[in-house]
């Protein structure tokens, strides 16, 4: 039944606060009671919600979100709609900090929780950009104060396939963009040896001046900084190379180590290069 009466009978200001979930419980209950019989206010609430829903940037959820939803609805094998991947690994608490999911051709995406290869130039997958995502304001405020002018990090998720030339071309285009370089990695002498670049199609690491490694050894990329280093994947043994990889939004410091080709679960020896992610 529609509410009939003067405008002053409608709790319009409280309705707006209700739309942003800013009311105390008693106030919220009063608006709920009003909404139950007022179609005009229900329509205004829908309008408010539509405007609010258009405000925030859109980012792909982490794969484990769909993994848990699919399990909860009794369809654990249903591929992730955002990646097309079917993940059959048992979820555990380490999954959120797990490195790049790198599936095999048969669709079995069971991954090593500690070491996973970065998408290599051969058989690379195209990556799709996500919008910058700010951290919680308390933490982010400190960043704003301490590092004024540093923009938000950029996160990426795997998308459809791409060929080698495409990866190289995309990476070079990103490197040519003045705003495309997210980080430069320098060796112990301060010499720039690698760059991380990104454009709307993804994130790439360009190894510019590392030494080629002997057979059986490979470069490994790590997220370092606040907690234990987390492997972001393998970069191959060539000192000059371009590799696409997933750069989660929380990552701020990167480092490269030398490891067996199968990768290390924790970095061994000194890092060959390191640098901060600047945007």
């Amino acid at each position: 039944m529609s509410h009939v009466g003067p405008v002053s009978d409608h709790p319009l200001d409280d309705l707006a606060a209700y739309a942003v979930d800013a009311l105390e419980p008693a106030e919220r209950d009063a608006v709920d009671d009003h909404l139950a019989h007022c179609s005009a206010c229900s329509a205004e609430l829908a309008s408010h919600r539509e405007a609010l829903g258009a405000l925030a940037t859109v980012e792909a959820p982490p794969p484990e979100v769909w993994q848990d939803i699919a399990a909860a609805i009794g369809a654990p094998g249903l591929p992730d709609p955002h990646t097309g991947r079917r993940v059959t690994a048992t979820r555990d608490e380490s999954v959120s900090s797990r490195p790049l999911d790198q599936g095999s051709e048969d669709g079995d995406d069971r991954v090593d929780d500690r070491v996973a290869p970065v998408t290599s130039l051969a058989g690379a997958e195209r990556v799709r950009a996500r919008r910058p995502s700010p951290p919680r304001w308390v933490a982010a405020a400190a960043v704003l104060v301490a590092v004024a002018g540093v923009a938000g990090l950029v996160g990426f998720a795997l998308g459809s396939s791409s060929d080698d030339a495409n990866i190289g071309s995309l990476a070079q285009q990103a490197a040519d963009d003045p705003n495309g370089v997210l980080a430069t990695l320098a060796d112990g002498d301060g010499r720039q040896v690698a760059r991380v670049v990104a454009d709307e199609d993804g994130a790439f690491i360009l190894l510019d001046a590392l030494d080629d490694l002997p057979e059986g050894r490979a470069y490994q990329l790590w997220s370092v900084g606040e907690s234990e280093p987390v492997s972001l994947g393998m970069l191959g043994r060539d000192g000059t190379n371009t590799v696409a990889f997933r750069l989660p939004p929380t990552i701020r410091e990167l480092a490269i180590s030398v490891a067996p080709t199968s990768g290390d679960s924790a970095p061994s020896g000194e890092f060959q290069a390191s640098g901060s992610v600047l945007r």
Binding site: A17, V20, L23, S42, A51, G53, I73, V138, L144
Partner: protein
């Protein structure tokens, strides 16, 4: 909103979810999982909490698709609203728990409202930023603190050094002006 997707309409997908169609929920997640996730993450701050919120929104839709009423708005904005409400609840519960636990972090001086507003503004799309920048003084600040900061109207009033009734009034006029600005931007019709 502009129609963004080919294939079945949202209402048809929700009807299919009522029929226990897993693929239908998967398609809804494909369309709106990103929007739900983003709001949950911005408001919760902590990724683990945002995951729980995002999962709860879609499993709730699976369990109770009848709670979505197409007459009360589009599926996208309804899902985002569910995520926001859950995220605010989680964020406030976490804050309460920390205070009860005597968490030392709560003893830190919070950043100023200006800094917090600047951080929340980074959650905006380009269209959203242009639209919200057109609001009159007070509206923009109230909206960012209440919506992305998860603050109650009384908290928002305290942060802005104004009256709670003024905040509520700014929220309403701000939302109405925001919609007009988004329509001008072509984001909404």
């Amino acid at each position: 909103m502009r129609r963004e997707h080919d294939g079945p309409g949202d209402d048809a997908l929700v009807a299919a979810v009522s029929g226990r169609d897993h693929e239908a929920l998967s398609e809804i997640y494909r369309r709106y999982g990103g929007a739900v996730w983003s709001v949950a993450r911005h408001v919760c701050g902590r990724t683990e909490l945002a995951k729980e919120v995002c999962q709860a929104v879609f499993t709730e839709l699976w369990s109770h698709p009848e709670r979505f009423d197409p007459a009360e708005g589009a599926l996208r904005s309804w899902l985002v609203a569910q995520a926001h409400a859950r995220a605010v609840h989680v964020a406030r519960s976490q804050g309460t728990q920390r205070r009860q636990d005597g968490d030392a972090r709560t003893e830190q001086t919070p950043p100023s409202a200006e800094v917090e507003i600047a951080v929340h503004a980074r959650a905006l799309t380009d269209d959203g930023r242009r639209a919200i920048d057109q609001l009159v003084p007070g509206e923009r600040e109230a909206l960012l603190l209440a919506y992305f900061g998860g603050h109650t109207t009384s908290e928002t009033a305290r942060l802005l050094g104004t009256l709670e009734d003024t905040v509520k009034n700014h929220l309403r006029s701000g939302l109405l002006n925001l919609r007009r600005a988004l329509e001008v931007e072509g984001v909404m019709t």
